[in-house]
C-alpha cells in the first residue's frame, strides 16, 4: 500500500489501470474529462493492455460499451450531466442485456440553464433503470468502490455507476491509499461471461424482440438481480476488508447515529461537512447524527430503517429535485422511517452549503419545525 495525492478522477484512472478493462469508449465532458485523458496517457505509456475508443458522442460511448461488453470483455466509461442525459436511451439497454459495465459519473447539474457544477440531477434521473449506483464521499471511496462495485456488477450481471461530486470530489486532491497491483488483481479476478458474441458454435441474439408474453419476465429478473446485489454487497465488502485492513465500506455509514435524537441522511461529499457539524453540536450536548447512504441502488431499506429506528427526527438532504413530487433520497428514506421527517433540497448547480445551514436544519428538528413541503436551502 502506498499513499498518493489524487483527485477523484485520478483515483478512477488508477483503479482503471489496475482493473485493466479491454475497452473504454469515452466522450469527454466536464468534470470527468480527466478520466479519458488519464487513461489515454496510460495507453501511450504502455501501462495498460486495453483500448480507448474516442467516440463522437456519449450516446455512442455507451453504445460501444454495449458492443464490447457483449463480446465478453471488461468495459468501462465515464461521463456526467448532459453526457448521461445523452446516454439515457442506452442506459436501460445495458441493464436489460445484463452487461456489467463500470461507469464513473462526475455528478453535475443538467441544463437549462447550463451549469457545470455539482448536483445529483444527472444520475438521479436514471436511478430506476437497473444500474447499481454507489455514491462516493471522497477520492478514496472512488478508488476502493471501483473494485467492490465492479465485482458486485459482474456477480449479479448488472451495470454499476460510481458517482462522485463534480468539481468537489472530481477535482480535490486528497491522500489516497493505493493497494498493490497483485492484491487488486487477486480481488478483481478474471471476467469470464457465459454468453458472448464470439460464441460462433451456439450463436445467440443479444437484445431480442419480445412481446407481452415475455417482456415482464426479463424485467422481473432485473429486480431479482438487484435483490441479490443487496445481499452480495456485504460479502464483497467483507472480502475487500479481509484483503485490505481498515477499508470497510458498508451500504450505509453511521456517524454518531445510534444514540442520536436528530439524524440527517445524505450522500456524497456533503457528508464531510455534516460530520463536522455533528461534532460541534455534540460538543454543545445536542445529540446530532449523520447517516450516509453509500449504496443507493439497490436501496438498503433495512439498513436505513435500523439506523433511524431511535431517531426523534430525521432530515433528508437531497442534491436533486423531483419536480412536482418529493426528492429521490427523501422518498426512499421516507419508506424506512415513521415519524417526523423533513425534506430539504440543497446545492443545486453547485450552490454552497455552510455549517450554519446544516446547524439550522438540526435546530429546526429540535424545534419540531416540520411540514410536508420540500424546503430549499439557498
Amino acid at each position: 500500500m502506498k499513499v498518493k495525492a489524487l483527485n477523484g478522477q485520478q483515483a478512477a484512472v488508477e483503479a482503471l489501470r489496475q482493473i485493466d478493462p479491454e475497452v473504454i469508449p469515452a466522450y469527454p465532458i466536464t468534470p470527468t474529462t480527466g478520466i479519458p485523458e488519464g487513461y489515454s496517457k496510460l495507453i501511450s505509456e504502455n501501462k495498460v493492455s486495453g483500448t480507448l475508443i474516442n467516440v463522437e458522442s456519449e450516446h455512442s460511448a455507451l453504445s460501444a460499451c454495449v458492443g464490447a461488453s457483449s463480446t465478453g470483455v471488461r468495459t468501462a466509461t465515464a461521463t456526467a450531466s448532459q453526457g448521461l442525459m445523452y446516454m439515457s436511451e442506452v442506459i436501460p439497454v445495458v441493464s436489460g442485456l445484463r452487461l456489467p459495465i463500470l461507469m464513473y459519473v462526475g455528478n453535475r447539474a443538467i441544463s437549462a440553464p447550463i451549469n457545470i457544477h455539482c448536483d445529483h440531477s444527472d444520475s438521479m434521473s436514471v436511478r430506476d433503470q437497473g444500474w447499481i449506483q454507489i455514491y462516493c464521499e471522497k477520492a478514496q471511496e472512488v478508488y476502493d468502490l471501483s473494485f467492490i462495485g465492479l465485482k458486485l456488477a459482474e456477480q449479479v450481471k448488472l451495470p454499476v455507476m460510481i458517482c462522485m461530486d463534480g468539481f468537489i470530489t472530481t477535482h480535490t486532491l486528497e491522500p489516497v491509499k493505493i493497494e498493490s497491483d497483485v492484491k487488486i488483481e487477486k480481488f478483481v479476478g478474471e471476467f469470464r461471461p457465459k454468453n458472448t458474441l464470439i460464441d460462433f458454435k451456439k450463436p445467440k441474439v443479444f437484445g431480442t424482440f419480445t412481446m407481452p408474453d415475455e417482456y415482464i419476465d426479463y424485467k422481473e429478473n432485473e429486480e431479482i438481480a438487484m435483490k441479490n446485489a443487496l445481499q452480495l454487497y456485504d460479502n464483497i465488502n467483507m472480502q475487500y476488508n479481509r484483503l485490505f485492513d481498515n477499508k470497510f465500506y458498508p451500504k450505509v455509514s453511521h456517524y454518531k447515529t445510534r444514540y442520536a435524537d436528530y439524524v440527517i441522511v445524505a450522500m456524497s461529499s456533503v457528508c464531510g461537512l455534516i460530520k463536522d457539524v455533528v461534532d460541534e453540536l455534540r460538543g454543545e450536548g445536542f445529540k446530532a447524527g449523520l447517516l450516509k447512504v453509500r449504496l443507493y441502488r439497490p436501496f438498503p431499506y433495512k439498513d436505513v430503517e435500523d439506523a433511524l429506528k431511535n431517531a426523534k427526527g430525521v432530515v433528508v438532504l437531497d442534491r436533486s429535485a423531483s419536480f412536482g413530487s418529493k426528492p429521490p433520497l427523501f422518498s426512499d428514506v421516507k419508506n424506512c422511517f415513521i415519524g417526523s421527517i423533513q425534506s430539504y433540497v440543497f446545492g443545486l448547480g453547485g450552490r454552497d452549503i455552510t455549517k450554519e445551514d446544516i446547524k439550522e436544519v438540526f435546530k429546526k428538528m429540535e424545534r419540531k419545525d416540520y411540514d410536508h413541503t420540500v424546503r430549499y436551502i439557498r
Binding site: T71, I198, V205, G207
Partner: protein, 287 residues
C-alpha cells in the same frame, strides 16, 4: 450461411434475400449489429432461431457505435491471443437507421476507421412504423407523413459516406444478386470500413403487385434511378450499365406511392435522375 426459415417479414420482402446474399458471400465467422427495423423485429424473437451468426441489437440509431465496441474488443482479444478467428463484422440498418437517426454513429465509426461493413437496406421510408417519410424518401413520394408528396429530394448517402475517405463503397440491388454478393465479399475483404447501399423494394408501402418485385428492381436499374456502382479508394466504377436507359416514368407508374404525379413532377424527377447518372458516368469515365 443464409438466414434460417421462419422470419416474420411480409410476404415478398426483399430484406431476407439481401441479407442472405451478404452473409453467404464469405466463409468467415460474422457478427451482426442490427438497427431497430423491420428485419430486426421479424427475426429476433428469443424462441426463433433465424440467425446463423451471433447478433446484437441495441437501439435504432446506434448500430455503428455498437459494432465499434465489438470491433475494439475483438482486436484486444486477438492481440492477447485469446481469439484466433478472422471475424468479420456487419451492421445492418434501414434507411432510417443509416441516413437519419443512425447518421452520427455511422459517421463516427467511419472516421475512427473500424474494420466493419455497413449494409444499408433502403426502402425509402420508415416501413416498420407504417411508412413515414425518411430523408431517403424520393421526391414527390406519398408516405403517411407526406400525404401530398415529399417536397425534397433524397439525401445522397453515398456521397456523404465517400467524404469519409473509406476504402470501399458500393450500391447494389435485387436487379443483380451476383453483383450484390460480389460487392459484399469485396466489402468484407477490404481493410477498414466499407459501406453497401442496397435498394430494398417494399411491396406494402411502395404499393406494387408482389409479382413485380423483380420488375421494380430491373426498372430501378434501367431507368438509372438506382445505378449499380462502386467506389474503391475514391475511384468510381459502374458495375452494370442499363441495357438501354429508359424513362423514369416506367419506374414510377408501377408503384402506387407515386400516384397522382403531374407531368411537371415527372420531368423534375427525370432531370434529377439524369443529373445524378451523368455525374456517375463522368466520374467513372474519368478513371
Amino acid at each position: 450461411m443464409k438466414l434460417n426459415p421462419g422470419y416474420k417479414t411480409c410476404i415478398g420482402c426483399a430484406e431476407p434475400i439481401i441479407v442472405s446474399q451478404v452473409l453467404d458471400s464469405i466463409e468467415n465467422p460474422i457478427i451482426v449489429s442490427l438497427a431497430t427495423g423491420c428485419l430486426e423485429v421479424a427475426s429476433t424473437k428469443p424462441s426463433d432461431k433465424i440467425w446463423p451468426v451471433p447478433v446484437i441489437h441495441s437501439t435504432f440509431g446506434n448500430s455503428a457505435a455498437t459494432i465499434s465496441g465489438v470491433e475494439s474488443a475483438i482486436k484486444v482479444l486477438q492481440k492477447k491471443g485469446q481469439l484466433k478467428k478472422d471475424v468479420k463484422l456487419l451492421v445492418i440498418a434501414g434507411d432510417g437507421g443509416t441516413l437519419d437517426i443512425g447518421l452520427q454513429a455511422l459517421s463516427g465509426a467511419l472516421e475512427r476507421n473500424h474494420d466493419f461493413v455497413f449494409l444499408c437496406m433502403d426502402n425509402g421510408a420508415y416501413m416498420n412504423t407504417g411508412g413515414q417519410r425518411s430523408s431517403a424518401s424520393p421526391y414527390k413520394v406519398k408516405t403517411s407523413t407526406t400525404p401530398s408528396g415529399k417536397i425534397t429530394f433524397r439525401k445522397d448517402i453515398i456521397e456523404i459516406v465517400k467524404a469519409h475517405n473509406i476504402p470501399y463503397i458500393a450500391q447494389a440491388s435485387l436487379a443483380d444478386l451476383d453483383d450484390l454478393k460480389r460487392k459484399a465479399k469485396k466489402a468484407f475483404e477490404s481493410k477498414g470500413p466499407a459501406f453497401i447501399n442496397v435498394m430494398s423494394p417494399c411491396i406494402r408501402f411502395w404499393k406494387f403487385d408482389m409479382i413485380h418485385l423483380r420488375k421494380v428492381s430491373d426498372l430501378s436499374l434501367n431507368t438509372c434511378f438506382w445505378p449499380l456502382y462502386e467506389i474503391e479508394n475514391g475511384i468510381y466504377n459502374i458495375t452494370r450499365k442499363p441495357d438501354k436507359k429508359i424513362p423514369i416514368k416506367d419506374f414510377l407508374e408501377i408503384q402506387k406511392r407515386f400516384s397522382d404525379l403531374t407531368s411537371e413532377d415527372i420531368l423534375e424527377i427525370q432531370k434529377y435522375v439524369d443529373k445524378k447518372w451523368d455525374y456517375l458516368v463522368s466520374m467513372s469515365d474519368n478513371n
